[in-house]
């Protein structure tokens, strides 16, 4: 597993959004938790994507959403979209 490139503040917001959407205590939602451990099914997944799109003002394409298997990959995907949105220095 490669080390995460996601800045801590982005990861924190992803985890918080996920916890709020799933009505889970924040301490249960960690960067290494699997969707299965958190009992997240496909409909929950859609709700989470919606919440993340609103939180970060991004559009998450269906194709990339399908490829996500865990929270680490989810956060990586969000960070990629957020970085692309930021104006180049």
């Amino acid at each position: 597993m490669t080390e995460s490139t996601v800045p801590p503040e982005i990861m924190e917001r992803v985890l918080k959004t996920l916890a709020e959407t799933q009505k889970l205590p924040l301490e249960r939602v960690t960067a290494t938790a699997t969707f299965q451990e958190l009992e997240i099914d496909s409909l929950d997944g859609i709700n989470i994507l919606f919440a993340l799109e609103n939180e970060f003002d991004i559009n998450i394409p269906d194709e990339s959403a399908r490829l996500v298997n865990d929270i680490g990959e989810l956060a990586e995907g969000v960070w990629k979209l957020v970085s692309e949105k930021q104006p180049k220095a």
């Binding site: 099914d41 496909s42 409909l43 859609i46 994507l49 919606f50 559009n59 394409p61 269906d62 959403a65």
Partner: protein, 400 residues
């Protein structure tokens, strides 16, 4: 009292044309009605294709005054019903009209009328909405308009069970006639879902294909929305024979049941159970089923669950049967889907052929493999599946 129930009239409006003849011609040719969605600004929406009833011109069927209370979904229902009634040539006395039933299905009702009214209210800050907004949007608007047009006064209602609405409607109408509660029935479904708000809601659910509908194909990417209406005239076999009507097909069984499993995920066990109920209702052995018009939405999960259900019910007979999903041709018309698929199934029984599943690319080991080109195929019995969001399943069994 139990009577055999037959179909003596069919009518439909869809992306495949303005009537049942055009519909079946397109099915025979495997010509899909899926194309770029018009009339809505789709900018920024993750899909752009749908199966709209582009050939439908309301002004050819209604005068301006008639159109005032009618949303598009009700217009479609009326035009499909007129075609079915014309083919059936049913002529009822005043007394018989009191025992004539109409059961329609619609998932949305008059969504365009609601959208337009609420847009003017919320966005344009209009102080009022059109006074006919409610009569236009009510899901029974098509059924009620048909009572006015036909003068029928028997049991009339509308079923709203998402993608199973029309199958539930046809099945219940079939039972009404079979058990003598109604003497004749008009049954089917209609849907006109193409509004901006509705497209955004489907986009958010992430089940719509970015290009086209490929049921049971390994690279399937989701469903494609459709619009239209189809209606069937049902009557007892004895009556049809006595008046010399052409019998198009017999409806022999209906099954319905709930998965009680998940609000959007299908259950193979739930689907299998309801297919079994439908066959039992019709006294039909699984081995006698020749063709399945599948729910076949083209989503990743439906097609796997439905294939599993078919293998459970039919076992090795699945290999001998023909499975098709005509949603690849006319789109997923939600509350009208079952009715359009019933028309395809009936036409297939009459012609002893199977409409193809369009857009198929590659077999998926997890699913059945559908018929991909028009095929002459001798069969006595066909079933048509509808498995709705919310886990509500409805299956019709039809015989030649």
């Amino acid at each position: 009292m139990t009577r055999r129930v037959v179909v003596t009239g069919i009518g439909c409006v869809s992306a495949l044309g303005g009537n049942a003849v055009e519909f079946w011609d397109a099915c025979r040719a495997g010509r899909s009605g899926i194309g770029p969605i018009g009339g809505i600004d789709m900018t920024g929406i993750r899909f752009s294709n749908g199966a709209q009833a582009l050939a439908f011109d309301a002004s050819k069927h209604f005068d301006e005054k008639q159109l005032v209370p009618l949303d598009r979904f009700a217009q479609l229902a009326i035009v499909a019903a007129r075609e079915a009634m014309g083919q059936s040539a049913l002529d009822l006395s005043a007394e018989e009209k009191q025992r004539a039933a109409i059961v329609t299905g619609s998932c949305y009702g008059g969504k365009a009328s609601e959208d337009a009214g609420f847009h003017s209210l919320y966005y344009d800050r209009s102080p009022r909405v059109h006074p006919l907004t409610i009569p236009r949007l009510m899901a029974n608007a098509g059924a009620s308009a048909l009572t006015l047009e036909l003068g029928w006064q028997g049991p009339v209602w509308t079923v709203s069970t998402a993608c199973s609405s029309a199958n539930h409607a046809i099945g219940q109408a079939f039972w009404l006639v079979r058990h003598g509660i109604a003497d004749v029935a008009l049954a089917g479904g209609s849907e006109a879902p193409f509004t901006y708000g509705s497209m955004k809601a489907w986009e958010a659910l992430r089940v719509v294909s970015p290009d086209t509908c490929r049921p049971f194909s390994k690279n399937r990417a989701g469903m494609v929305l459709g619009e239209g209406a189809a209606m069937l005239v049902l009557e007892p076999l004895e009556r049809a024979v006595a008046r010399g009507a052409t019998v198009l097909a017999e409806i022999v069984g209906f099954g319905m049941g709930a998965d009680a499993h998940h609000i959007t995920q299908p259950s193979a066990a739930g689907a299998a159970r309801v297919i079994g109920l439908a066959l039992a209702d019709g006294g039909v052995a699984a081995e006698s089923v020749g063709v399945v018009n599948a729910h076949g939405t083209g989503t990743a999960v439906n097609d796997v669950a439905e294939s599993s259900a078919l293998r459970t019910v039919f076992g090795s007979h699945v290999e001998a049967m023909r499975v098709t999903s005509t949603k690849s041709l006319h789109g997923h018309a939600l509350g009208a889907a079952g009715a359009l698929e019933a028309v395809a199934t009936i036409c297939g029984l009459r012609e002893q052929a199977v409409a193809p599943t369009a857009n198929f690319v590659e077999a998926d080991p997890e699913t059945v493999t559908p018929v991909t080109s028009f095929e002459s195929f001798a069969h006595e019995v066909a079933i048509s599946n509808s498995f709705a969001f919310g886990g509500l399943n409805a299956v019709l069994v039809m015989r030649r």
